[in-house]
């Protein structure tokens, strides 16, 4: 999927693929880092779409990432990074 995404991207993505670099560098693809079940770091996001303590929806390059759980808080919002804390139950991706 990452390969297809890169092929669909511009020159930058093609260079990244040719040099065997991590694909998220070129295409702006999102990257999720889950630490246990209490912390999620989401890089390359496109903004928070909806937020409640039970559900957080974050926009990414080609779709949305939905995080479900209990007592979710956004412990940090940055231009290219969202850090979610709380009791994370599920993560799903829709495009």
């Amino acid at each position: 999927m990452a390969r297809g995404q890169a092929r669909g991207g511009g020159l930058r993505a093609r260079v990244v693929e040719w040099l065997d670099l991590p694909p998220d560098l070129g295409s702006g693809a999102h990257r999720l880092t889950l630490l246990g079940t209490s912390r999620l770091i989401l890089e390359n996001h496109r903004g928070i779409i909806a937020y409640s303590p039970q559900c957080l929806v974050v926009g990414v390059a080609r779709g949305q990432v939905e995080v479900r759980g209990e007592g979710l808080t956004v412990s940090r919002v940055h231009r290219d990074e969202v850090v979610v804390a709380g009791d994370i139950r599920s993560i799903s991706f829709t495009c």
Partner: protein
């Protein structure tokens, strides 16, 4: 790296709550403009978040566009705390008063500690000190320890020695009282007369004790001349050795002086830059041979240090060759010789013992190197080389009136029929002179 809690506290941050249908959008817009938000928490229809003051300024104009209501809940951090304090004039006045008070009260003497009193009553000592200007509450800089010392010794004859020192708000007075009969006791301490320096004994007059050497004998520094042993009540007892030990002694000094013309730098210089690596030198600059015939060398080295004592094994040297030339008149040999002799005389005079009488002097002149004259001065003197060495340190015997136990390693009182002149190990070290 995300800023730490401490940093956030130091820079200060705001706790803000939003209300409205598009709060998520408001957050996204603000973040897009470089705002920095953290600890977002939904409670009911409100969204609470923390942000820096500059982020709040970016966010505020966006609120109307997203039809959100923004409320500033709390200001947290050091800057806000200080701002609140700034208005409290009484607080600052109090702080200033406190510091001024602290400064004033620590510049006074509050405690006077007196040590070492034996017979002088404490009240009397305190009264004396008060008259010398040392009493609780007095300013530190008004107490001059040296003057107080001298005043105390002068006004109280029972004080043999006194030390006065200021330590913070404490004034420490250490007293040593005069003890009657102490000097007498000290004079009667048992002990030997030993040689203060090497020499040939000329005259030996024993007043108390037993002679260990004969006239004409060569003695070494520290050797026992008169042993402190004498008969009292039919038994050999330790006594204080007394006598005259006149000896010929020699003093020697060697000094040099230059006779050639003094050399000065002409100002011409040849510089060479080298790299020294493990005692090997590599010339970086200045490969030509040194273009002067007479020169001085001075060196400056820079050694790149990485951190504290960790240094690179490479050293960069700058070696300057300064041309020198003779300047002025050459020193006449006679003047140089006189100069060297004068300094040799001074050295001998420094070494000469008190009461030493110079019998003869001999001057030898050398020429150790080109343009150098060397003078050796040998002086023969006649002096009393006997020095008293007590068997025990004076402090121990002073109180108890002289214990007769330790005989300084000499013959025991019992077996003292044998002549006391047995040669012992080596010369004893001179403990007291």
């Amino acid at each position: 790296m995300a800023p730490s809690r401490i940093w956030r506290y130091l820079t200060g941050y705001l706790e803000v709550s939003f209300r409205g249908p598009l709060v998520e959008r408001l957050v996204n817009l603000a973040v897009g403009r470089g705002a920095h938000l953290w600890a977002l928490e939904r409670s009911g229809d409100r969204l609470r978040a923390r942000m820096t003051v500059s982020s709040f300024r970016k966010l505020r104009p966006l609120a109307r566009a997203t039809r959100s209501r923004v409320r500033l809940e709390r200001k947290v951090g050091l800057p806000f705390r200080l701002r609140r304090l700034r208005r409290r004039t009484a607080f600052w006045a109090g702080l200033l008063l406190f510091l001024a008070g602290l400064y004033y009260f620590t510049s006074c003497v509050w405690v006077i500690e007196i040590q070492g009193l034996k017979r002088i009553p404490l009240e009397e000592m305190q009264a004396l000190l008060a008259r010398a200007g040392v009493r609780p509450g007095v300013r530190r800089d008004s107490v001059r320890p040296d003057e107080v010392r001298r005043w105390l010794i002068a006004s109280e004859p029972a004080i043999a020695w006194v030390g006065v020192s200021l330590r913070g708000v404490r004034c420490l007075v250490q007293v040593a009282e005069d003890e009657p009969g102490q000097v007498q006791r000290w004079l009667n301490l048992p002990g030997d007369l030993v040689a203060a320096r090497d020499g040939v004994l000329v005259k030996l007059v024993v007043l108390a004790g037993q002679a260990e050497v004969r006239e004409g004998e060569t003695v070494k520094r520290g050797q026992v001349l008169i042993r402190g042993a004498g008969y009292a009540g039919g038994r050999l007892q330790p006594v204080r050795a007394r006598g005259v030990c006149l000896a010929r002694t020699w003093y020697e000094a060697y000094r040099e002086a230059e006779t050639g013309a003094p050399r000065t730098r002409t100002g011409r210089r040849y510089t060479r830059v080298l790299i020294r690596l493990n005692h090997r030198e590599i010339i970086v600059w200045g490969w030509r041979p040194v273009p002067f015939t007479e020169y001085e060398v001075s060196e400056a080295s820079g050694r790149p240090g990485l951190w504290r004592n960790i240094r690179l094994p490479v050293e960069i040297l700058t070696r300057d060759y300064w041309e020198t030339a003779a300047s002025g008149e050459p020193v006449p040999p006679a003047a140089a010789q006189a100069d060297a002799l004068e300094r040799a005389e001074a050295e001998v005079a420094f070494q000469l013992g008190r009461g030493a009488q110079v019998v003869s002097r001999r001057v030898e002149v050398f020429s150790p190197r080109r343009d150098v004259v060397g003078v050796r001065l040998v002086v023969e003197a006649r002096e009393d080389i006997g020095r008293f060495l007590p068997y025990q340190p004076a402090a121990e015997t002073a109180g108890a009136g002289g214990k007769a136990g330790n005989f300084g390693g000499g013959p025991k009182p019992r077996g003292a029929q044998a002549p006391v002149g047995g040669q012992r190990g080596g010369p004893e070290p001179l403990r007291a002179l």
